[in-house]
Symmetry: C2
């Protein structure tokens, strides 16, 4: 029987989401908690990987168990008690046997937060930028990202993906006040490092170092070296993953 | 020459604001940074003390120097570079010689944040409460706090204050959505532990364990044992301190 588990984490203390030999990850922390409760290994398949320091306000993973699921609400309650403050379990849902946390997702939404002054409460949850970013210019350039196109210019090189085509449906900056702004970007899929490369390149537009026309050229060159530096990890949040409703059995 | 310094801090890592023998405090951390820049001891007088784990989105302190102040903006910049992420300096203002960070303040405003579920991003900045608090009932009771009256029922015993009379001008809960709520309380002065004792007693109202009439009796008994337990430190923020405008020389 297959289940989706929906959760959030503060990525500050983790070496990314995905299990790896060096450093504690979200995946191994959750798998250890599940093993304590189910008294057997329960491997998780995450909807996607997040790098060290990247946060998730909503992440999904799937797992299979060969026995009857006890009350899911009670399992969530026990998991939250075992897990550190930095990981919160929201819910567990029974899904169809072919539902896949990664391949069934139809849309992913990220936020990138920036703050233009020292803020003790945002230092791990927003990237510090110098004041004066031109958000109107950044929004004009960001609109060029919308649509189904090749995002190779914003993809880490040496990845083994078959295609660098993504269908991007949203890309906009909003100023939240008090020097705090957020970029929201949504697509059917994202390439490795894509959001941080897009944000880093938009920073160049916001600083007047790149025109909207030059930004358009960056996109069409399909070459990572055409784009700007990657923006730092700490401002990045995975905030939403959408699946077809019919995967959920309840 | 006297100056006010305006700043914020995340209280999580500090043993309160005020210098003490055991544990690192906000005061000693700031005094060390000032001594590095001015090359002499610069004692700070804080507007008030905050307990361990309590945050400040706005705090003031005053200090005196016997020499000409260099450019204040540059001093703030250097202080922010020396200080940890958990303390941010906003500004330094020249003030009149009789201006006093503690005694000249005419109003202080605190916020108390609660969240009704596990949230990795609020675990140090809001107190976790069980769902179902009756905020309408808590607001009705909170209105009884408004006015100039004796708050001895909400004051830590064995303090040496001369009077327990405060003039309270605001006390209201607002629901921010997604299980997050905030209580805002303002007065000319606060007694030791007063906000946390008020919030802890309002929790009893919100849980249906105390009526509005019983809350009114708690106030008039002028006895700390009449009120409820103190609410935990981590949800509490000092957010604003007001001074007469004429103290500021610019």
């Amino acid at each position: 029987m297959r289940f989706f588990i929906r959760f959030a984490y503060d990525g500050t203390a983790f070496h990314g989401s995905q299990r790896q030999p060096n450093g504690i990850t979200v995946q191994e922390t959750m798998e250890q908690a599940l093993a304590m409760i189910f008294r057997e290994e329960v491997p998780l398949t995450f909807a996607g990987r997040t790098d060290a320091g990247v946060h998730a306000r909503e992440m999904y993973a799937h797992f299979d168990i060969g026995f009857q699921m006890p009350d899911a609400g009670h399992i969530c309650f026990r998991l939250n008690g075992i897990l550190p403050d930095s990981i919160a379990i929201f819910n567990i849902y029974p899904v169809t046997d072919d539902a896949h946390a990664r391949f069934s997702a139809v849309r992913r939404t990220y936020e990138y937060h920036v703050v233009d002054h020292k803020d003790p409460f945002l230092c791990q949850q927003a990237t510090r930028v110098r004041p004066g970013l031109d958000f109107a210019a950044m929004n004009e350039a960001a609109q060029l990202l919308i649509g189904k196109q090749d995002f190779a210019s914003f993809c880490r090189t040496n990845t083994d993906v078959k295609t660098t085509i993504c269908n991007l449906t949203r890309a906009e900056w909003r100023e939240l006040g008090n020097g705090h702004a957020v970029f929201t970007i949504a697509a059917d899929r994202f390439l490795r490092n894509m959001v941080r490369a897009v944000v880093g390149t938009l920073f160049e537009v916001g600083r007047g170092k790149m025109t909207k026309e030059q930004f358009a050229e960056v996109i069409t060159q399909h070459n990572r070296s055409a784009a700007g530096d990657s923006a730092p990890a700490e401002g990045l949040f995975l905030v939403q993953i959408d699946y077809p409703q019919e995967l959920f059995l309840v």
